[in-house]
Amino acid sequence: MQATNILILILGLGLFAFYLGRGRSLALAKPLGGIRHIHSLPSYYGAHVALWCALPSLLLLGLWMIFDDPLINSIVLKSLAAGGLVTESSGESLLMNKVTNLAQGILPRQGAEPELVAAADLMLRLEVISRWSLTALMMTLSLMGFGWSWSRISSSFRARPRVEKVMEKLLLTCACVAIFTTLGIVLSVLFESIQFFRSVPIDDFVFGLDWSPQTAIREDQVGSSGSFGAVPLFVGTLLISAVAMCIAVPVGLMSAIYLAEYASKSVRGFAKPALEVLAGIPTVVYGFFAALTVAPFLRDLGASFGLSVSSESALAAGGVMGVMIIPFISSLADDVITAVPQSMRDGSLAMGATKSETVRNVIIPAALPGIVGGIMLAVSRAIGETMIVVMAAGMAAKLTANPLDSVTTVTVQIVTLLTGDQEFDSPKTLAAFALGLMLFVVTLMLNIFALQIVKKYREQYD
């Protein structure tokens, strides 16, 4: 049987077990004079039986799925080795691929070497055995679990604390999934980066001022040795993010203050959703808005002042990105400002403070942690944003602080490094992982920095 079918079967059995367990406890309760005379509610007895029925076999399924394939592969490989087909270790995986493809019918059996066909047959046989033994084992486990927990149902059996404990473990598992996924991503990026730093020295990468990742494919190509200095990329990223924040923070914060403190109910009811629509516009749309409308406009405007503005400028990309980020800041800041208790406002107003004095002196300090949190989220968004920059800011890795020039960002370079046909062990491709790692470190440090700021300046109310 297929794993999905077994899964459905086991879940069905669990449901069945739940009703049986619940029914039994109800039957127990009846002669005693009602469910108040048994220790736990009937649904807890049902859940206890269902958990014992389903959980152990599901655990077995998980383990089986992890160890199933490697075990079969090693047996097949051993048989091949016995036939004298495996000669060198590097050919092993290639050979196994062939066998798997033969077994699944992707490769035609005609014309294949007979040893390989035999190995494919062996693999198919083993897989059938594995599936049926898994089914049998899971069914036995389920029935055993069911039988054991069924026999334990009695009026004094403490089903409730047991089920509670399992629930707690379940929640813990879910929390762990998120943590381990993050850890896994970080580790994989870290290992690839270490591989990259083997071919490019780490200080060349971190402090290098020149970025041109084109490496020669053939020895005789000219001028494409490749240099991986990440500084221009990070300067570009920070420049564009800074432009974006210069627009998003004041506009977002002030619109939040207006919405939370000044706007009447009807204005607020209209304006808040309207602002949040901004967050729903796809970044591609912002991107071509920046590239086709804002960038030419800025160029012409600059020309009329006698400034030379690049047609792909950091200002255009950053400006449009800033507009995109406004709803993040305004929405979060609005929430925390509204959460400041009315008694704070009353206290300040009763002292004769005006509305804006109240906002400046009392409400903003009290709402500071939330506001900084919103801004940090917006900064991460700005640093990670790719599409607008690809379309509006260009690809040239220039080391400049002039927002009228064209720059490129870390994310854009990661995209260009990884799109198209690539070999996955060239420094050019691995550089993407190193950039990703550094980006991660930079955002992490920004977050820690922001937390410190909040700790220093927050005014806690209760």
């Binding site: 009353d346 206290g347 107003l349 009763a350 004769g352 002196n361």
Partner: protein, 284 residues
């Protein structure tokens, strides 16, 4: 069920008399010779619902007037219309005339900021700002420009804290957060904050209802001292408190002002039967 429970019977009897006539006239001595504030025919509405009906009363200079009455009788609403804190409630509308020193507080040209500097307020729940004790008290003087130098400001802060009899307790930790104080200290801090801008009138909206008896006693003592310099209007749930701290007592009932008289008289021989019913605990 023939035998009528005497207590229930008495309550039912009072209930019948609880209906207040629309042309109810306030009994007792509402008006004084040298009023600080005068209220004439004040009506307060929340949307269409009328919360205060036709209230006319004077508050004399340097007196402590207590406003008592059952929950929801409008005493807090009335108090909040004296410094226009009701402006913050969108649906609230005030009619009639409320004057301080002859100046109409609801005149279109009146500066609310200046008014609230002259009429301070202390709230039911202590609400110190999440700032240091010093900054809490200095808040008002700063926004009204009452101190030109740091030394002046220090002086105002110390003076206000002394007047609120909090100085001795906090002088060592002026720069710690005001929210770290105990409830009673927080409320005295709020009083210090209010008197730091030297208001003429202080409104207190059940200032002790969130405090324990010892903290309450301290605040009551303080009110008595403050009455030498300030005019105080206090809303309270506790009749004993009204009896202890006030010179005159106003009894509100269902949005109407029933009786205003010297406190001793209200608690010994009330003029109106509703007042008597309330102070003898037959409802409330």
């Amino acid at each position: 069920m023939n035998a009528i429970d005497p207590v229930m019977g008495a309550k039912a009897e009072v209930k019948q008399n609880l209906e207040v006539a629309d042309n109810q006239v306030t009994v007792g001595s509402c008006f004084t010779d040298a009023p600080k504030m005068t209220m004439r025919n004040v009506n307060v509405f929340y949307d269409d619902k009328q919360a205060i009906h036709n209230v006319s009363v004077d508050i004399a200079k340097n007196e402590v007037i207590a406003m008592i009455g059952p929950s929801g009788c409008g005493k807090s609403t009335f108090l909040r219309s004296l410094n226009r804190m009701n402006d913050t409630v969108e649906s609230c509308r005030v009619e009639g005339e409320i004057c301080m020193d002859g100046e109409n507080l609801y005149a279109p040209k009146l500066d609310v900021v200046e008014l609230r500097a002259r009429v301070g307020m202390v709230f039911q729940k202590p609400n110190p700002f999440p700032k240091s004790i010093y900054d809490n008290v200095a808040y008002g003087p700063k926004i009204h420009g009452l101190a030109d130098t740091r030394v002046d400001l220090d002086e105002i802060v110390e003076d206000s804290l002394r007047k609120a009899s909090l100085w001795e307790e906090v002088k060592e930790r002026l720069h710690q957060s005001g929210t770290g104080l105990s409830g009673g200290q927080q409320q005295r801090l709020c009083i210090a904050r209010a008197i730091a801008v030297s208001p003429e009138v202080i409104l207190m909206d059940e200032p002790c209802s969130a405090l324990d008896p010892i903290a309450t006693a301290k605040i009551e003592e303080l009110i008595e001292e403050l009455s030498q310099n300030f005019t105080i209007a206090i809303v309270t749930h506790s009749m004993q408190q009204a009896a202890r701290v006030s010179h005159r007592t106003a009894y509100f009932h269902l949005g109407r002002l029933i009786e205003v008289n010297p406190t001793e008289q209200v608690f010994t021989m009330p003029e109106h039967e509703l007042t008597e019913a309330y102070i003898t605990g037959r409802f409330g």
